[in-house]
């Protein structure tokens, strides 16, 4: 079971819980399972126009490093996942093409 840390905006779906233990072999599966437990939370995580990608402006940190495969990122049984705002304002990241979506602060 991966541990998901939930940022403050996401906690309105979780009755204030700041983390959750959720199964999933990939980030996409994890989000699916998370959404079953906390209905609606996926709307804040998944790009409405491309279900393989994270919401624009959001980054996922898996085991200390940003993902580079978006929701397709594989997870380990004990992975730690953070959803946090992507760097904006010109930091060094491209979200513009498929395969991007990584955060690099």
């Amino acid at each position: 079971m991966a541990t998901v840390f939930l940022s403050i905006p996401l906690r309105r779906y979780t009755s204030g819980e700041s983390s959750a233990e959720v199964p999933g072999a990939t980030l996409r599966a994890l989000v699916r399972n998370l959404n079953e437990r906390y209905p609606g939370i996926a709307e804040s995580l998944v790009n409405p126009e491309d279900a393989d990608r994270l919401m624009p402006g959001l980054a996922a940190i898996v085991d200390g490093e940003p993902t580079n495969m978006g929701l397709l990122t594989p997870l380990d049984a004990d992975s730690e996942v953070h959803f946090i705002p992507a760097i904006s304002g010109g930091a060094a990241v491209s979200n513009s093409e498929p395969g991007g979506g990584e955060r690099c602060a």
Partner: protein
């Protein structure tokens, strides 16, 4: 000077040496072609009319008289730009509203910063274009300019964008000038403060500061009648320009080709679009290639500095000086459109420390000034000015040596960064130890003459950097020299540092790898030259390509030696048949046999590197001398220690440390946007912006710390940015040590120092 912690088992032949850079001769001869140096048949020159108001409705723009002037080929205004609907999109620089991305390069209906392009012309020469701008009629209705946090955030604030929907802790809010309010929280800081032995809270103000690259932006475009657009531009992000130009101009991505020119400095400020779409539209109208080069004033007025803002930080410690909690409230002014690196500030502000209980609020606020851009470790020097100044003052109050405080509380492998992720192996402590062991640290501050006051300051800093996508193609020539094709503009020696990593794989001298930076049609996708990623990530693509080349040549040698490829070994630049050891060919000899064994060998390495491997930490130590009669600060001595993982080319690593320190010193002492109440920058020239000259700085001792990065085959870390993070607080702490009172605001210029001294005499503290 290099210190190495836990030297890796790896021994290097090329990596770690100091070859002359491959593009060096062209650059010292004046032959290198920068943006403005481009010559094309039929080239004409563009110029931009910019809004004199920071905030105004544009009621009418009439370019007809300009267009009819002798020598003028075309004129455009916002009316000529493709109409884009409001929609949130991922642009290369940021997630933003597509409509704003378009309007940012050319105002339509409203000007939201002084210098906002309103119209543009292309003419036979630069002066004709500039003169034609005078013929453009614009009718403005000036609006009140919003240029401070206070004005932007007050309840009845003038709203800059009616269509801005703010995200305030997940709630959608409109109308507002606060684009984003984020919070990260671990533990219970309030409870921890309540039990802390000592708590200190201070508020700091940090000025907008410009990247200050010496080369003004220059872009040339030719829109061919078959709707293929070529853009030659001085950019850190050729693939980003391709995608953003295509988006703004509604062209298919692959119909845009971007040719990166040599780039005369960027520091994050040459990522976004500025004149590329305008040059393209003027070219389309005129049928000619159009070159547009900014003047220096426009660079200051209309391109992105790093954001200014206000940071309130609070730290509590136990009786031993161990941090028990920290909070911060970070408010940055993004400029005319959202996006001011508040998440990097959140990640960076306490990253050097173990903080068990933390809460960080951050606000991204729009104001009527040019949109800020990335500036070397975007968002982090500002936040770190607060945290490192606060810690220095806290140490004073609890009577603890700052070096001991840093070592006691230093983040290390396994420490959770305040915004969540856990650090892998990092060089934070090693940098502190390097400073502690330096001659500078051990030296006496010395006595000053003429009543001047001396002080010493210490500060640390962190920047994560990134990995991401790179593609490098390596082709083997018959003579055993290899050509290397890459897509990252070389902003400070990266042709060489990338080539050196390939050379290391081949066992060839660095100069037997010939690197070329090519256009977007000529190499696979590359993310931008930024984020401290180029040597680190594109280097990995080069290593990958080189390894593929070696594997392919092994197959060829196996054909010649009539054995299996597994039997061919490659070591020390020699291929050898391990079954018949007298069958051996050097790389160069083998290269001559490729034609007859299946043809040329050319391989592309593509990578999508996850993260930076923990980022690069730094510690800086500075001695200053202050003239209490005039407020003048002189930097006497400066030492910068930073973790490079493994320095590929130590001279260019040192250069990054030194250059970042110099920029940070400028930010600390003099650099700012001095702005009138109506949002007009008063000091928009190199004369009055006051970047450090050679006479303002001492030699800057660079200590290259090497704690290998487990995320790179050679242990390399991205190092370009961290060096700008510690200088401002280090200088501030040194000034405080010298004059016995603190400044809570950058720039710490002479007038402010005199004011602080006067306040001290009157028994007032400046906070």
């Amino acid at each position: 000077m290099t210190t190495t912690a836990d030297r890796p088992a790896q021994e290097f032949k090329v990596v770690g040496s100091r070859p002359i850079r491959h593009d060096g001769v062209d650059k010292v001869l004046g032959r290198a072609q920068y943006g403005a140096d481009l010559k094309l048949p039929g080239l004409i020159h563009g110029a931009v009319l910019r809004s004199p108001y920071a905030h105004a409705v544009i009621k009418k723009v009439d370019v007809s008289r300009a267009e009819a002037a002798p020598g003028v080929f075309a004129a455009i205004s916002g009316d000529d730009m493709p109409v884009t609907a409001p929609k949130m999109v991922d642009m290369v620089e940021e997630v933003t509203n597509l409509k704003w991305s378009s309007q940012r390069v050319m105002a339509h209906g409203k000007a939201v910063y002084r210098g906002h392009p309103v119209a543009a012309v292309a003419a036979v020469d630069q002066n004709t274009a500039l003169e034609a701008l005078k013929l453009i009629e614009v009718e403005y209705e000036p609006l009140q300019a919003v240029i401070s946090l206070e004005d932007a955030m007050k309840p009845d604030a003038v709203i800059i964008h009616d269509d801005l929907v703010g995200d305030h802790l997940g709630e959608k809010v409109s109308p507002t000038n606060v684009a984003e309010h984020t919070r990260t929280e671990f533990g219970d800081p309030e409870a921890a403060f309540a039990e802390a032995a000592h708590v200190l809270e201070r508020t700091y103000t940090i000025a907008r500061a410009h990247q200050g690259y010496i080369e003004p932006h220059s872009s040339t475009a030719f829109w061919s009648p078959d709707d293929k657009l070529t853009v030659w531009t001085t950019t850190q992000a050729p693939f980003g320009v391709r995608s953003n130009v295509a988006t703004v101009l509604k062209l298919p991505l692959s119909d845009v080709r971007v040719v990166p020119m040599e780039i005369g400095g960027g520091f994050g400020g040459k990522i976004g679009l500025y004149m590329e779409p305008l040059a393209a539209m003027l070219s389309r109208k005129s049928g000619r290639p159009v070159k547009m080069t900014m003047d220096r004033k426009s660079v200051f007025d209309a391109t992105g500095p790093g954001p200014g803002g206000q940071v309130t930080a609070k730290i509590g410690v136990d009786k031993d000086g161990k941090i028990v909690a920290a909070t911060a409230d970070i408010r940055y002014m993004a400029g005319a459109y959202p996006g001011s690196s508040i998440s990097a500030a959140t990640a960076g502000i306490f990253a050097c420390y173990k903080v068990p209980n933390v809460r960080i609020d951050a606000y991204d606020v729009v104001i009527n000034m040019s949109k800020t851009a990335a500036y070397r470790a975007p968002g982090t020097p500002q936040a770190t000015f607060a945290s490192e100044s606060l810690i220095s003052e806290l140490c004073e109050q609890i009577g603890m040596d700052p070096m001991e405080f840093h070592l006691l509380n230093a983040a290390e492998e396994g420490t959770r960064r305040p915004d969540g992720p856990v650090f892998p192996r990092i060089g934070n402590v090693a940098c502190m130890e390097a400073i502690k062991g330096s001659d500078h640290f051990k030296s006496d501050l010395g006595e000053s003459s003429d009543g001047k006051l001396r002080g010493r300051g210490l500060a640390t800093g962190y920047w994560n950097g990134g990995g991401n996508r790179s593609s490098v193609t390596i082709s083997v020539n018959d003579d055993g020299v290899v050509s290397l094709v890459e897509g990252n503009p070389d902003i400070g020696g990266t042709r060489t540092t990338i080539a050196m990593q390939a050379a290391e794989v081949f066992g060839l001298p660095a100069h037997d790898v010939h690197p070329t930076v090519v256009d977007t049609d000529s190499v696979g996708y590359n993310d931008l030259t930024a984020g401290s990623r180029t040597t680190y990530a594109s280097g990995q693509a080069a290593i990958e390509a080189a390894k593929q080349v070696v594997e392919e040549i092994k197959k060829r040698m196996a054909m010649i030696w009539e054995t299996e490829p597994e039997n061919v070994e490659f070591e020390d630049s020699v291929f050898q048949n391990k079954v018949a050891p007298d069958q051996r060919l050097t790389f160069k000899e083998a290269a001559g046999k490729l034609g007859q064994t299946g043809g040329p060998v050319s391989k592309t390495g593509t990578v999508n590197v996850r993260g930076s491997g923990g980022g690069s930490f730094a510690a800086h130590l500075v001695d200053v001398e202050v003239d209490p009669e005039t407020g003048k600060v002189q930097i006497l001595r400066y030492t910068a220690a930073q973790d490079a993982g493994k320095a590929v080319h130590p001279s260019y690593v040192e250069g990054q440390f030194q250059g970042g320190a110099a920029q940070g010193i400028g930010w600390a002492l003099n650099e700012e946007y001095y702005t009138s109440p109506d949002g007009v920058m008063q000091n928009s020239s190199f004369l009055d912006y006051r970047m450090p000259t050679a006479l303002d700085l001492p030699m800057i001792d660079a200590i290259v710390v090497e704690v290998p990065n487990t995320n790179h085959p050679f242990g390399v870390r991205g190092i370009g940015e961290t060096s700008i993070v510690p200088p401002a607080p280090a200088v501030g702490n040194a000034i405080a040590d010298a004059i016995g009172t603190r400044l809570y605001q950058t720039p710490m210029n002479p007038s402010r120092i005199m004011e602080a001294l006067a306040n001290k005499r009157n028994g007032q503290n400046g906070h």
